[in-house]
Symmetry: C2
Subunit: 242 residues, 2 copies
């Protein structure tokens, strides 16, 4: 595994995720995008809308990873406390910023709505942050150091990821290939373990399935070097002919 | 919020989740089941199949919560290292146990398959653990102290949760009611914040949506006391008539 790729962590913020009311989809989306861009996502945490929990997790994960991506809690309501908590975690001040305010003013002018006090909260940006464009609903995300703060609504989150990722320096995208074996995992485990020892540069995962009473496993080979992944696939095809 | 309910954390273990290859569904399932049974799920972590990562997370989360539930990494292949890592985290030994072995032997005898060395790994149980029944594919999960170790395959995970949860002492299930408001979140945020201050015993969340160009929000009131939740719903109906 290419451990020289930049590492990433994600923080999913929201009571509604932990209560089971809402099924998070941002984690899976970001995981796929990060893999493609050559970042190693090595930890995800999901926590409630509580300032202390956010501050502690942001501090911990921003120190231990090259990048931290957050989703949730940057809307206009009283439970949207992410921006203020991130500012506190990073030890900087936060206030309504002119450029963020202008983005919101233009958006609400176009739709004939009022930029009231609640909506203006979405222009609160920590000192020193860089805005992340939100082409869906204007209210921006922001990057503060290596912490990238984005919305929880999936359509907005995805648009922000599309704005942000090209601005970050990724690594070598992993090559991934899958070999399907129509035998129970317990039968292929021994040969797979020996093979994994022979190919230390790639990661070999086994994902069992059962369909119509037939057992099988998808064996996934992942690595940075296409030649190594290819050699492992040839070994797999020899061990478990199709 | 009834903070006297038992607290719970979850640990989702698996490279395939973090790489984006597989979309986890166990977290959402467990979150719903825990809410119903009166547990407060306050943290979820997703980590790779790495012994050090598992040991550190199990230690941290088992100390800081009443219960820790894990999913993933208890199959027969070389990347299934959860049981050994949990034993190490809790400072106990691990070996093939007679009762777990008998469960597997009976299962493979029925299906005419061999209980080989790889499959026998699934009978490795930490010292002092209590088995969790697996009516789907026999290989058991286990509870070691307050750590409940279950499979990653969703069908098996769900069966294990069904076996386990009735044996744990839960708390007061939260009552949850939703009021739909067909106005943008930014317009209702002010009144909602004042209302949240008036009802400190309940949690009030606002979840915006957009459908066919119309903005709205589902306002969710959650609490342990049905009377308090009811009173909050009456206030909501007054503030934002249907």
């Amino acid at each position: 595994m290419p451990m020289t790729n930049p590492t990433a962590a994600m923080l999913v913020i929201g009571d509604e995720i932990l209560s089971g009311r809402t099924r998070d989809s941002n984690m899976h989306y970001l995981a796929q995008e990060l893999s493609r861009a050559g970042f190693n996502l090595t930890e995800v945490r999901m926590i409630p809308d509580r300032p202390d929990a956010i501050v502690a997790a942001v501090r911990k994960l921003s120190i231990s990873h090259d990048h931290l991506f957050t989703s949730g809690g940057i809307g206009p309501t009283h439970d949207d406390i992410t921006a203020d908590s991130v500012a506190r975690a990073m030890g900087v001040s936060i206030a309504v910023r002119a450029d963020a305010r202008a983005l919101l003013q233009a958006h609400y002018d176009r739709s004939g709505q009022e930029l009231n006090e609640a909506r203006l909260r979405m222009a609160r940006i920590p000192e020193g942050a860089v805005l992340i464009d939100n082409p869906v609903s204007a209210a921006p995300g922001f990057s503060l150091g290596n912490v990238h703060v984005m919305a929880g609504v999936p359509m907005v989150f995805q648009a922000m990821v599309a704005s942000l990722l090209p601005t970050l320096t990724g690594g070598t995208p992993l090559v991934s290939q899958t070999w399907r074996v129509m035998r129970g995992e317990g039968e292929i485990a021994g040969p797979l373990a020996r093979m994994a020892a022979d190919f230390p540069e790639v990661s070999i995962g086994s994902y069992p399935f059962q369909r119509d009473g037939v057992y099988g496993a998808n064996v996934v080979v992942r690595g940075a070097d296409p030649a190594q992944v290819g050699a492992a696939m040839i070994r797999l095809a020899g061990l478990f002919p199709a």
